[in-house]
Symmetry: C2
DNA sequence: CTGAAAGCGCTTACAG
DNA sequence: CTGAAAGCGCTTACAG
């Protein structure tokens, strides 16, 4: 049998209350007593039972998730996962509060962060848009001892405890590698379609992609990026015009969430089927495009994994328990038609 | 506040013991009383707190993992993950017992299964080698109410509760797709290197690979498979001889765990660098081969994820709690140099 | 600075 | 067929 607080108390010759004080590093215990208790803990190999502790404490975790208002399929998928996680979390005394703010609006995000009642919330996860006000709001939270993780989109390091998402530089390089190899040493141009260059993830992916193409596939030339604002109509118009104008496009990298517009254009003319296409985010649309051979590969981050990871990381910070680093690493997943989940 | 057994007891006008009996579907309660309690549960929206229940029950989970004796890097990786999971599991009253049996030896596996004391073990995970004796041993366990999951390598459906591993048919098709696309519509032959065609995973990957190549890349022709027995020296000798003999090999699919021998041969002559190579399982060797450009892609299953998933699935069966299907799906991961974790 | 007692939400003998 | 009481491993007022 694993030792309990009773065993430790007996071994150290003190009461349960004192063991508890030492265990929780509460003040008001003589140094000598602390030493005796710690010696007993070491001797018995005592390890605290956290679920019993949480039961006694009636601990509930109030986790706040701040996400952009349902715009594109990926964010909708993230919301769906949050909804599912919410039900499951309840079984673990964990309440998920999901708040939506205007997309890409740093001030709206900052306001949401500033309005957090630090007495009510035990941890915060946010899809970040960085700004000075956001950084200040995050600083207030962290000074109040509230753990903060960023989800999918990051802020600079000292303003959060952890980033839950993929390395967008590596993702851009991966896309370059796939397009370069799939297009089979051909010469030609590569079209880039993004949401907006003001979004950090998109900008990072694009820069890394262009650099990798330049370094490794000298036969390919990147065209100026189209900014479709994650809007199907805008994307469609811009891309149709580009494909019509440029005659030797062999590859296309869809950086953001404009997949629907991209698919529309690519399926509009038979000759476009020769273009090697790599896109981001696995959705019903992109899956279908893979099956139809319109897309050649999709780079994905698993929204369900990200949500669960954010919850685990926040709770681990709150309880001061260890995490399994490997389990929390978000993979840059590559899907082709054949390994679809 | 979430309702507790006390609230249910009060609402139904019965004692805690009776609520507990209904909750746990124990017999010896009048149908009318059962109905009253269930009505109260519905009315209050009561949901049992499982960690409190486990505390009261002093429930410990004794999970037995049966794995092949440390042979190849993948299995060594699996063991490492099991070791790490073992430490973490202890915090959750879960004991992992890891037992090794002779590799690919169905009788050794069956003996291990037959020796299980069903009173001591609460769940079993095994890397399966199928045989009649193994199926019988599994039937005994399941009839004793012990949940069984297969890990990495499966048995037929009715003999286990769940399979934790990748779809090897899809994995073989994925390999074909990658080699076909990476080799750029060239014509030529593809070498296949496996451990043994007696191993079901290898046989499935190979068959699916050959079929997909035949269907989709008519310019490529699969050579007879080399069986390297997952041994570096054997693999090296066979492959060196093959590459020396056949002059127009453009692709190589390393199906099993013989990566070290494959890498040795491929790096032995400059001309071999042109060969498009897809291998299985991410290890230090295969990662280095990707970085060096010796391998073009590696197909992987995440051993850590598999171990954690097996634990979650077994505990969910034991406690009769739901699982998140998505979280338990093992992905066919594709790695190129740029998305290495 | 320290301890005795009650309680967290469940389950388990035991008694009736 | 049903209930009162004690206990699982912790924590928390309260008293001293």
């Amino acid at each position: 049998m694993r030792p309990t607080v009773h065993d430790v108390a007996g071994e150290a010759g003190v009461s349960l209350a004192t063991v508890d004080r030492v265990l929780n590093r509460r003040s008001g215990v003589r140094a000598e007593t602390v030493a005796r208790v710690n010696a007993a803990i070491m001797k018995l190999g005592y390890v605290r039972d956290i679920s019993a502790a949480n039961l006694a404490k009636q601990r509930v975790y109030n986790l706040l998730f701040i996400v952009p208002e349902g715009s594109n399929s990926f964010m909708l998928g993230l919301e769906k996962e949050l909804g599912q996680a919410k039900l499951h979390a309840l079984l673990d005394r964990t309440h998920l509060d999901i708040r939506k703010v205007k997309t890409f609006d740093a001030d709206a995000l900052a306001t949401a962060l500033e309005n957090i009642d630090v007495a009510q919330v035990s941890g915060v996860a946010l899809v970040a848009t960085e700004s000075q006000r956001v950084r200040q709001a995050l600083t207030r939270l962290r000074e109040a001892g509230i753990p903060v993780v960023t989800l999918v989109s990051d802020v600079s390091d000292p303003y959060r405890d952890h980033y839950v998402g993929i390395d967008n530089i590596a993702a851009g390089r991966t896309a370059a590698s796939l397009i370069g190899r799939f297009s089979g040493r051909r010469f030609g141009k590569v079209a880039l379609v993004a949401g907006s260059m003001l979004v950090k993830d998109h900008a990072e992916r694009r820069a890394a992609f262009e650099q990798a193409i330049g370094e490794e596939f000298p036969g390919l030339e990147c065209l100026p990026v189209l900014e479709g604002r994650d809007d199907a109509a805008v994307t469609r118009a811009l891309l149709a015009e580009l494909l019509d104008r440029e005659r030797d496009i062999v590859g296309l990298y869809s950086i953001g969430a404009g997949n629907r517009g991209v698919i529309d254009v690519l399926t509009s003319k038979a000759e476009y089927r020769e273009i090697t296409v790599v896109a981001h985010e696995l959705t019903e649309h992109s899956k279908q495009a893979l099956r139809d051979g319109v897309f050649d590969a999709v780079i994905n981050q698993d929204a369900g994994h990200e949500v669960r990871s954010a919850i685990r990381l926040l709770k681990a910070r709150i309880d001061d328990t260890p995490v399994i680093a490997n389990q929390e690493a978000i993979r840059i997943e590559i899907y082709v038609r054949d390994n679809l989940p």
